[in-house]
Symmetry: D2
Subunit: 351 residues, 4 copies
């Protein structure tokens, strides 16, 4: 009954096997091995265009590197109020950029509202030196609260970014979960809708440590090798990340894991909403489920071994929460089993 | 015949097995699992005192984090002219510190000369705001050119650091190789000689990606969790690093691998020096061997499949190199086999 | 009829004379002259305790240096949504700190609401590494919208800061205007109410360029000489700033100028509110007056030579502004004459 | 007998008068006044091409801003071992750039040796990510040790910079002194010899505080307004810097002051070398004179009221200094009088 986070799970056996398979022998370091190149080619195939891929160690590193690659003096990046970059990265994007600012933008269900975005950007007139200058827009797909931007919604944000000459970054810590939720392709969900840079996460979806910054237009990647190395994110035995991605993509394992994870979230969601002891905060699209429950119930469930986190109420959440209630987050992953759901169901509805 | 670098080798089978063994199940993220704690305890046992350990993804990260933890405004850190931090980290230590300076200090055989260090520090008088202010001393053990500081030599540098109120950092990318070369203990090689911070490397010695900043006095570690997170070096599935270190220390595997690696360097060194076609540049102490050879011979050996790098002549190298000669570096590792040495011997001395 | 800003005015004749008087002869550079020391003593006398004063070139520099002096990794400083540091410094505080964040806090009339501040700080639990950590609170006195914190209001914010272990900074770009508005002393308005650091501005109140960071507890100033020098804010001919402050304080010139400036704001305010063509947005306490007027009227007045700026509507302003109306800011200074007010009155009310 | 530094002198009466003349009335802030524009035009006239000028508060700010404008990730700027940027700015250039490195280059008489420069740049191969990448070359004219690059010498350094695609910056803290020493024009000494950016100093030559970054190709200045504002170097009452430059250039006052200053250095130099109690360290070209004298004599002269500084021996100085001798620096300025020289002569040669 571990629903704390998808990063509490371990690694898929096929990922583990791939690591073992590539443990032997010698290979050029720092990303120049045959395996590294082959995995880069796989990314290009999956995105249906030539892309340049930079492996890094954490999702925070991918996001911060994306900001560093978009940096301008006095720069301001726009992202949702609940964005991981703002809330949960200890200022890493600001640090990597030497002080760029993350400007929060509102929007329902964890998604940037395009007109709020336009208004926010407009507060930084082009040559007005006092306010600073816009430098990027970032969306999270799937969002931090388990919802997913539709393709049209991405397109709408992309249009605002483009019309202001700003690159659009996608924090894809849960890229695969969003992708299968929409039933679309990486190309459709990114560059065909105006996305320029993707933090492509594998860690939360069955890898040990496999994160990448994907630059969709390789012509814009010239500085990034130096930005990455300077940020201490160039791994010498790069093959150990490549080996994970090789298994991840092989036979669409990544999509299967994401589908499983999302399906578990739907099951869990059904359990929660069938109970009269709590209510869903909003409809989950991917692998995170949010519910409002009496705080006493939360304590009771936790005391009996269920693991999930109380969560700060998002500004974009309009539902009422009583004084004796708490908003809680449940996350499923490739490793979540029907048994876990069933065990939680029995805990919630004993008879 | 791969002598390019010890990071061209993969992972020891026991390290790989440990990763597989810990792939299963759920565990708290971000370094708070039982395994993480247990490995931290192992570090304390090995160092014979309570230490605080911060896993990071690369040796550059460990070094740069050590500098960030020692940072002062206008700060100047002192390290050897050939230090990896100066030569091979693309400015990461300067970047992590927001602009601290690395001041090169000379010394024979890749080791800081204590009196040169004193003189360098003395150029920064305590209250003289124009020059900046000393903030740390860093030594590399084993050094970048394959030599090893004796305990007395570390003590001598440590005394200069202490008398100037500066923390002493040790870049231990090849910590184990130095340790077995000296036949001493981690405690003797570090805090008993004045070392405060250690970049403890496992990657070059049989791990996939296992690096740690070891703070020998836990009372000085308060800021480092934030410094590390902000630098995007806090791994969610931290257990994957812990699992490597668990196997690394189990049954002294790390020391065995380092002994093997050093022994291979001695074998290779014997081969090189028995040939009349090249000469050793200096006596190797650990797992790196430097030789001066005719450039034509280098090209010939390379053409026949041997892998090693030409190397920039260290300022501390006083030997002569002819116009048609090149200094070359050979590195051995846990994965180097007698066969590799023998194959190279045959290449060099066909009869 | 120049009401654009108090920095459109020049220098008071006595300030100019002092500069001329000190132009001659030789004096030690970088703040070590007799005049520099004497002016530092004057600051101590005015603040009724020993203080350490650091001259800098701009108010932005004083604010940013204060933030640098309070810096922590992943640091978050709390200031009002309308704070100059957030809105008008092109990210300088973030830049000086290598990426600390400015967290906006709401409050009516441009002043931080203490309970909103407590709530904002509480979102950064002490050891929770993901969110970052609080590092400072900053208030602006007089505020950016021409209001003034009462002593009790400063005390209330100071209490929240103290109870969270945070230093309290005061952006005193218009320190003198606030002081005379309250009819109090610098000691009462600062350290007796919990203020630790003051950006003490003279430029807007009759100097050419005279800004200082005043550290109220000299024991906390040890790093600042290096922080300032590294930020390129240590002036060689420091005496030119000291000379301005000498004249500024001599015979309470600074208070006289601020009183005049505030009185002019009251006169202007009376003119504006006696007209039925516009209305005051809120009651002015110091030397800035905000009025809501038809946009057509604004254009008309501007066309006839009046100078003032349209202003973005503060989040803390609850009054209604019609679609065809604009909020405008008028600023008075030591150089504003009754004639200017009278000329504007005639423009507004021709008969 | 004040020869400590040219920044111990005050301001020329005409500079002071100009400040008084412009003290009155209102003018647009932040560099947009008529006076600001007119002074910018004067710079263009003097440089014989359209230039863009950014006023800043200190020479360190101008240098550091030039580095920020040339910044690249992992960037390395090349300057002479004795460069003010390396020795006397407390790491400001590294700070402004978020960690770029200043690489010292040797050369006789304080001037970069072009072939040493080529060799230093060559150690950073274009795509080799570990070492970092070249970003700029900087020379100081006149140099820190009172010598002056000939036009051919500037051209030679410029050629190396250009052939490596690097901008060439000139630290012109003593620009005027070098200019009149060479008897040439600003155009000849800068862009006609390959210089792209000039830190143009007025402070040491008779101004209070008048420094500017001059961008010789305005097309490359687009980011600098934001870089300057973010670095807290945009002065609100910018006219007070413009007013100084107006007087500075009027009737070639700047050249007259520099000629006087250099002539005083020649007089002083004649006095020093005519004495048998000390010897010139090298021939002075501008307004700094270096002499080697018995330390006892230095103490004696100082005790009798002469002011000058002992100086660290430059690496480029090949002359011998005895154990009981000290290298000393004497600086003249617009304010140095024949009387000062004569008084020092009498002190040195009583009869």
């Amino acid at each position: 009954m571990i629903f704390s986070s998808d990063n509490w799970s371990g690694a898929h056996p096929k990922v583990a096997e791939s690591l073992v398979r590539h443990a032997d022998g010698f290979a050029p370091a720092y990303g120049s091995s045959d395996l590294d190149r082959s995995v880069n080619d796989t990314f290009s195939r999956i995105f249906e265009r030539e892309v340049t891929v930079f492996f890094v160690g954490t999702g925070t590193a991918a996001n911060s590197l994306a900001m560093a690659a978009s940096n301008r003096p006095g720069g301001v990046a726009f992202c949702h109020t609940e964005a991981h970059m703002i809330v949960d990265e200890c200022g890493a994007p600001e640090y990597f950029t030497g002080g760029a600012r993350l400007c929060p933008v509102e929007g329902a269900l964890g998604k940037i509202d395009p007109s709020a975005l336009s208004a926010a950007i407009a507060r930084y007139p082009a040559e007005f030196v006092h306010h600073g200058q816009p430098m990027a827009v970032s969306i999270t797909q799937a969002t931090e609260i388990g919802t997913v931007y539709s393709l049209d919604e991405i397109e709408a944000v992309g249009k605002v970014a483009r019309s202001n000459g700003l690159p659009l970054h996608m924090d894809g810590a849960r890229f695969a979960n969003a992708l299968v939720a929409l039933g679309t392709t990486p190309a459709e969900m990114t560059w065909k809708r105006g996305v320029d840079l993707v933090s492509f996460g594998g860690t939360k979806n069955g890898c040990w440590c496999a994160e990448a910054l994907v630059v969709l237009d390789p012509g814009k990647a010239a500085d990034i090798p130096f930005l990455r190395k300077r940020a201490a994110q160039l791994f010498s035995k790069s093959r150990f990340i490549s080996a994970q991605f090789e298994a991840y993509f092989e036979g669409d394992l990544w999509l299967d894991m994401a589908r499983h994870s999302n399906a578990m979230a739907q099951s869990l969601s059904a359990v929660l909403s069938s109970s009269n002891r709590m209510r869903l905060a909003w409809k989950p699209d991917a692998n995170e489920v949010f519910a409002v429950m009496p705080t006493a119930l939360m304590d009771d469930l936790t005391g009996k071994g269920a693991r999930f986190y109380p969560w700060a109420r998002p500004a974009s959440f309009e539902g009422a929460i009583g004084d004796d209630e708490t908003l809680c987050r449940f996350v499923t992953s490739f490793a979540t089993a029907e048994n876990d759901i069933e065990a939680f169901r029995r805990l919630l509805m004993p008879i």
